[in-house]
């Protein structure tokens, strides 16, 4: 078949083809393992154990859990309407700000009673999720829905516009400098120490809060009627409409879910980093978007995996190469992934990436 339809490419040695095949199969995995393996070997040579790398990875995973939640919002929205929702990072920021404001109004601090703390955190979680979810839905309604039939790039500019508006809201809300959040959970305190690897309260919180949310979302998308409608709309909006699915409602629900996850991520971020900043959403948005692409955009498990991997890369780079270079390292990885595996780690071969 091949030989009949395509003339064999002349003059390419077999070794080159073999190397190419090898690279396209395993290149990405090799690239991903490069950093941990290199620094792990370095640790072994200097300290004789891997505790430093272990610490990096633990912090990376808990940071990555936050990125995973934000990345899920990107991937949900992209999967369904093929739009890079540039305002998503700002929705995450608003989630952080809502939690912070609630805690300050309630007067929560480290000295509050355990019951009060737990209640305050829960109320803040609900509030952040509701505010961010509704905000995301509102953005879709106002800026993206009128542009659904428009040229593909028009909603992108509208998204950027909304991102500016929300940044300005954040600036007016809490001012131009980063604000310290009361360290309600003693984020940095060591909870357990496994063979020199310390696991802090913050790490546990990030994982404990993220896992159920991700599981709930996966169950929602795979089990419920609305979830089925979401998958159908993602596959083919026209056909979904013909099958009696209310595409508008489905898209609204998608934005609501993405916004709620971003709100939860905002709360976890505020607790974990103990500082909030009106510009935090921009960086978080870029990183989470990278995570979504890394995992295979449109793929929920991929977004989580991508978030965790990016968290680890970031942490290793912060700790070993220097924080100033971290964005460059993360984006260099992104380029590598696009070169070796454009469809992402778990993504399927799509027309766009094919």
């Amino acid at each position: 078949m091949e030989a009949a339809s395509l003339p064999a490419k002349p003059g390419r040695p077999r070794a080159v083809t073999a190397a190419r095949n090898f690279l396209s199969k395993y290149g990405l995995i090799i690239a991903l393992l490069l950093l941990p393996v290199y620094y792990g070997a370095q640790d072994l040579a200097t300290d004789g154990n891997l505790s430093r790398l272990g610490n990096n990875l633990v912090e990376g995973l808990s940071n990555g859990a936050i990125w995973a939640l934000v990345a899920l919002g990107y991937t949900l929205v992209y999967g369904i309407i093929e739009l890079i929702n540039f305002a998503h990072g700002e929705v995450f920021m608003i989630g952080s700000f809502t939690s912070f404001t609630l805690w300050s109004t309630l007067g929560l601090s480290l000295t509050s009673s355990v019951l009060g703390l737990a209640g305050g955190l829960l109320v803040a979680l609900v509030a952040a999720m509701v505010v961010s979810g509704l905000l995301n839905t509102m953005i879709e309604r106002v800026a993206y829905r009128p542009l659904r039939g428009a040229p593909k790039l028009a909603p992108l500019v509208a998204a950027v516009g909304f991102s500016f508006i929300l940044q300005n809201v954040g600036l007016q809300w809490l001012g131009a400098s980063p604000r310290a959040v009361p360290d309600l959970i003693r984020s940095q305190r060591e909870l357990v120490n496994v063979a020199g690897v310390s696991i802090s309260n913050g790490d546990v919180l990030a994982i404990v809060a993220t896992v159920p949310l991700v599981l709930l979302l996966t169950a929602f998308v795979s089990r419920t009627r609305l979830g089925k409608a979401m998958r159908a709309t993602a596959q083919d909006p026209e056909a979904a409409r013909l099958m009696g699915i209310n595409v508008d409602t489905t898209i609204t629900v998608t934005f609501l879910l993405g916004g709620m996850l971003a709100g939860a991520a905002g709360l976890i971020f505020a607790l974990y980093q103990t500082t909030v900043f009106f510009f935090q959403g921009f960086t978080a948005g870029l990183i989470a978007f990278t995570a979504a692409v890394m995992g295979g955009i449109g793929n929920l498990q991929g977004a989580v995996l991508g978030g965790l991997i990016i968290g680890c890369i970031q942490q290793i780079s912060d700790n070993r190469i220097g924080g100033a270079w971290t964005p460059a390292v993360v984006f260099a990885y992104l380029v590598l992934i696009m070169v070796f595996r454009p469809q992402g780690l778990l993504g399927e071969q799509t027309r766009e990436a094919g």
Partner: protein, 394 residues
């Protein structure tokens, strides 16, 4: 204008549309507009803030038209245009400032440069040479950024270009840590300053007091980029780009060489970004890592989309409008009004208002201010065609 609405209106419109079709329409329009634009500085004081805003706007037109080649003609979404701005600006920072003071035993090295700059330490090349170097460097960078995207389409290209833009940004910020043979790559956030003023042959040296020559230089760059845009659009290469944008598979099967065509789009688009970057480096008198933000790429892209993707006049309009909203309308016009009548400082809300205007303009006119004719036909006829298809099926 009102006369056209009279009995002769229809005939005039018909004549107008036939002229529009003629290839000289753009030429005539360009001549009129550029002449008008060239006369503007005589209406405002030579050192005024408004002329400063206009000069910046005109420099952005060059960038917008450059990006229009990549995004508008070839349909390759580029979110990392700041990379070319940065490389162009650093070209002038490296080769026309006292930054590399140790060159030539601290005696300085000047080539075709007169006046005080020649006596300073550091490398000082003539602006024309700088432009050439900037074009070469940015075109190379464009090809480099283009290479990994060759297999990709659509939004994936956007992501790779975004990543490259971010890498360049981080390198610019931390470039003072990269020292090659005693020479720092950039000066990080401190910036390279002062940068030599533009020194052209036969013309008096530019100063920061009289902005007119700067404005005219930027306008000359626009003229060049307009010429190249029109000639390319109507060339074999331009048609190849548009074919690529419309349908990559169909274009490839018609014999359009994909790799060459795409890389040429990246290189040409990048080169204009570099030219404008070199100009702005000298005009702003500093090359500072903080100038190169992701926001900038989006800003230029918004100019292209707002104007109308692929529409040359649209992009010119979009660039001027967005740039002036940012530098003139919000701070110089609306803010004094708000302060006087509402006793309220608008500058705190400026980028929120800017965002609001972006959303508003997109919702009201998603196809852009002056959509390209080809696109407009597609948009209207495409929808109609689909409707008939659905009806016949039903």
């Amino acid at each position: 204008m009102s006369a056209e609405g009279g009995p002769g209106g229809e005939g005039a419109a018909g004549v107008l549309s036939s002229i529009r079709g003629a290839r000289y329409f753009d030429l005539a329009l360009a001549a009129v507009l550029v002449t008008a634009a060239a006369l503007v500085p005589f209406l405002v004081p030579s050192g005024s803030g408004f002329l400063d805003d206009l000069t910046t706007a005109v420099a952005y037109v060059v960038m917008g038209l450059g990006l229009n080649i990549v995004v508008g003609f070839a349909g390759l979404l580029d979110l990392g245009y700041l990379a070319f701005f940065a490389i162009g600006a650093y070209t002038i920072g490296w080769f026309a400032s006292p930054f590399y003071a140790q060159v030539n035993d601290e005696q300085g090295f000047a080539l075709f440069v007169g006046g005080p700059a020649a006596a300073l330490p550091g490398i000082h090349l003539n602006f024309v040479l700088i432009l050439i170097i900037a074009v070469v460097l940015t075109a190379l960078a464009g090809v480099l950024i283009g290479l990994p995207t060759l297999r990709l389409r659509g939004d994936y290209i956007a992501i790779v270009t975004l990543a490259f833009g971010e890498i360049i940004r981080v390198v610019a910020i931390n470039g003072d840590e990269i020292v090659i043979g005693g020479y720092k790559l950039t000066n990080g956030r401190q910036g390279i300053t002062p940068v030599d003023k533009i020194d052209l042959p036969f013309v008096e040296r530019f100063t920061s007091l009289d902005l007119r020559p700067w404005y005219w230089t930027a306008l000359a760059l626009v003229l060049l980029v307009l010429f190249v845009n029109f000639r390319l659009r109507d060339s074999r290469l331009g048609r190849a780009w548009i074919a690529l944008r419309e349908d990559e598979v169909a274009a490839a099967s018609m014999g359009v060489p994909l790799v060459k065509t795409k890389l040429l789009a990246y290189a040409t688009g990048a080169a204009f970004g570099g030219m404008s970057g070199a100009f702005l480096g000298s005009y702003l008198n500093t090359v500072n890592a903080d100038q190169f933000q992701f926001f900038f790429s989006i800003f230029i892209l918004a100019m292209v989309i707002l104007g109308g993707l692929g529409s040359i006049w649209g992009v010119v309009l979009g660039s001027v409008v967005l740039s002036l909203i940012n530098t003139w309308l919000l701070p110089d016009v609306l803010n004094p009004i708000a302060q006087q009548s509402l006793n309220f400082d608008l500058t705190q809300l400026s980028f929120g208002i800017y965002g609001f205007l972006l959303v508003l303009m997109m919702v009201l006119r998603p196809q852009g201010l002056l959509p390209e004719r080809r696109r407009k036909i597609e948009l209207t006829e495409g929808v109609g065609g689909d409707a008939t298809l659905v009806e016949t099926r039903a």
